[in-house]
């Protein structure tokens, strides 16, 4: 029996061998630039290495020094998680609410708004970097000072009181990306039969329709939107920091990604790899949790 199976598998491979060649270029690039770095990160997190000379085995020294570093990494991890709650989870809820709300409005109008939101999400980071670049002549300061809300211009991205809020808000501003589009079209393609049945029953409450007929058929789109939101929340603040030319400082916005860039500039491979391993584990765990929840719910349908 198993021999037969093996034979048919071999036959399928031979029959479709050009398909493997077709997929090969992508997976070769994917392997070199995605899989290799990840494997290397796990390996080199146990070494002391500065890219010149030979790596030196150091056991778990890197990990322990990461948590010793005057609490720098610990607070970075805490900041990253907070940012994820605000931008990742919060942004997802925002996307979902917006997609639902727009679905209740006339289609043409909703489509225009959707495209505006998407265009902002794709292009907005550079603009927000200008707004938050600091100095009297950045748009935010020239508005606040010009209108009399504040007397002196301040550097909002390097001010401990406002930095987190500024980054979180500007991230939420650019949150309506491809995941949001997927949710929007998911609402449109939702099982119309169920909605019609609800209408016949005389149910007009949109909330009832949402919970009982729309959400159950939206799980794939919701999971996709959430998956896209995870790396966005963990990394995009760093892009904003780089674009606005703000130095990395010990603030609420000092995230794991900031730590990685800082150590990366000093070529401290061991510490970077450690931090990457922790970051990737964190993201994987969050995605796995979401996936398990969705899988459990979609079984009941």
């Amino acid at each position: 029996m198993s021999d037969k199976k093996r034979n048919s598998a071999a036959k399928l491979i031979v029959k479709n061998k050009d398909a493997y060649f077709l997929a090969a270029p992508f997976f070769l690039l994917f392997f070199v630039f995605t899989v290799v770095p990840m494997i290397a990160a796990v390996v080199f997190s146990f070494f002391r290495y500065d890219l010149s000379g030979l790596p030196e085995f150091s056991g778990i020294d890197n990990f322990s020094s990461l948590f010793m570093l005057g609490g720098k990494f610990t607070s970075a991890a805490a900041n990253s998680l907070l940012m994820f709650l605000a931008v990742g989870a919060g942004g997802f809820v925002l996307c979902f609410a917006a997609a639902w709300g727009l679905d209740l409005l006339p289609k043409k109008f909703a489509d225009v708004i959707t495209i505006i939101l998407f265009a902002i999400s794709l292009s907005g980071t550079a603009a927000t970097a200008v707004w938050l670049s600091g100095g009297l002549l950045d748009p935010l300061n020239s508005f606040l000072v010009g209108a009399g809300f504040s007397d002196v211009p301040s550097e909002y991205l390097s001010d401990g009181r406002y930095a987190f809020l500024c980054v979180a808000l500007s991230q939420l501003f650019t949150t309506f990306g491809i995941g949001f589009l997927s949710l929007r079209s998911g609402f449109r393609a939702v099982d119309r039969e169920k909605a019609d049945a609800a209408k016949i029953e005389g149910i007009k409450n949109p909330l009832w329709i949402l919970v009982h007929s729309q959400i159950p058929s939206l799980y794939p789109q919701m999971l996709f939107a959430f998956a896209v939101q995870i790396p966005f929340a963990f990394t995009n603040g760093e892009l904003l920091r780089i674009l606005s030319g703000t130095p990395a400082e010990d603030l609420g916005t000092y995230s794991i990604m900031t730590f990685i860039f800082e150590q990366g500039a000093e070529l401290d491979v061991g510490k970077v790899c450690c931090a990457e391993v922790i970051l990737l584990l964190l993201m994987t765990l969050i995605y796995a949790a979401a996936r398990i929840i969705v899988k459990k719910f979609s079984k009941d349908v």
Binding site: P25, F26, G135, L137, S182, G186, A227, I242, G264
Partner: protein
């Protein structure tokens, strides 16, 4: 009478909601609008903020285009390297991604399912998450300071494959089955039959990648000025008195093309997003199909 009244109230509510949403949307456009409009304002008019400059000028743009960086490299050179990187990425990505997506979506052979799962999980690896690791790798490979440093990782983007793969469901399996029976190779089917049909997905993915690339800063990677992308200049300017206008002009040059592209190709992007969704119930579905065929 009563019914008419009710309808009128509904209509009124609808109009109010539409007006409110329009105001919110306009408010969301404001940050980008002001950056663009300030790039046309003379420096004297930058403070306080103005809705529209009294004397619009193109001076900042001409200064940007004719400007020269710290080491004597003209900024137009940075613009050129950004364009070249975008073009290179688009060409490599489209050919590589479409081929892989076709195989992942339409070929049933051992190992394909595992590759599908890997791609699904790799969505959470955006380019920035592996940025520094790739920097180390490319330093070792000796290509960190070239265009390829930006092009190659983005060309093999898992999100791009996932999106194109999802869109493949508009291509009926029967067509591919018939073509296979006629003896067509997977190469011919992919590039001859499938590619023209999935044009919207190709456009959507290209726009997304362009947006990502156009804001790629080359931080760490890029040492030589000639390779530096346009966004890499952002951090060199600040809103200081002399360069605030040029800074806005640079941001406008980065922002406007992305907005234009996503507005022009909004329909294609929406069509592609419609097919994006992670289905967790793969197994049961495939089993059900198999039993159908057996019957």
């Amino acid at each position: 009478m009563n019914k008419n009244k009710k309808q009128l109230v509904f209509l009124l509510i609808k109009i109010v909601v539409i007006i409110l949403v329009s105001i919110i949307a306009l408010g969301l456009c404001a940050p980008i609008y002001f950056v663009v409009i300030r790039s046309f304002s003379p420096t004297e008019e930058l403070f306080p903020i103005k809705l529209f400059p009294a004397e619009p000028t193109l001076r900042h743009f001409s200064e940007l285009l004719n400007g020269v960086g710290e080491y004597g490299t003209p900024f137009s050179r940075n613009l050129f390297s950004s364009l070249l990187t975008a073009l290179l990425t688009a060409v490599i990505q489209i050919s590589v991604v479409c081929a892989a997506a076709y195989v992942l979506a339409k070929v049933k052979a051992p190992g394909i399912k595992a590759l599908n799962l890997i791609i699904e999980w790799s969505i959470i690896l955006s380019p920035l998450t592996l940025y520094v690791l790739r920097y180390f790798l490319m330093l070792k490979m000796g290509i960190s300071d070239t265009y390829f440093a930006a092009v190659l990782p983005l060309a093999a983007s898992p999100l791009a494959v996932f999106l194109v793969k999802g869109y493949m469901r508009v291509v009926p399996d029967e067509i591919i089955y018939c073509a296979r029976l006629d003896g067509a190779s997977h190469f011919r089917i992919c590039f001859g039959i499938v590619m023209p049909v999935i044009k919207p997905a190709i456009i959507a993915v290209s726009v997304l990648t362009f947006g990502e690339l156009w804001q790629y800063t080359g931080e760490l990677f890029v040492k030589s000025e000639a390779v530096k992308p346009l966004s890499g200049l952002m951090s060199e300017f600040s809103a200081s008195a002399e360069s605030a206008g040029i800074f806005c002009a640079l941001a406008a040059v980065i922002t406007i093309p992305i907005i234009v592209l996503s507005a022009v190709f909004g329909k294609e992007i929406a069509q592609t997003a419609e097919c994006a969704g992670i289905r967790t119930e793969h197994k049961t579905k495939i089993k059900a199909q198999k039993s159908d065929k057996a019957v």
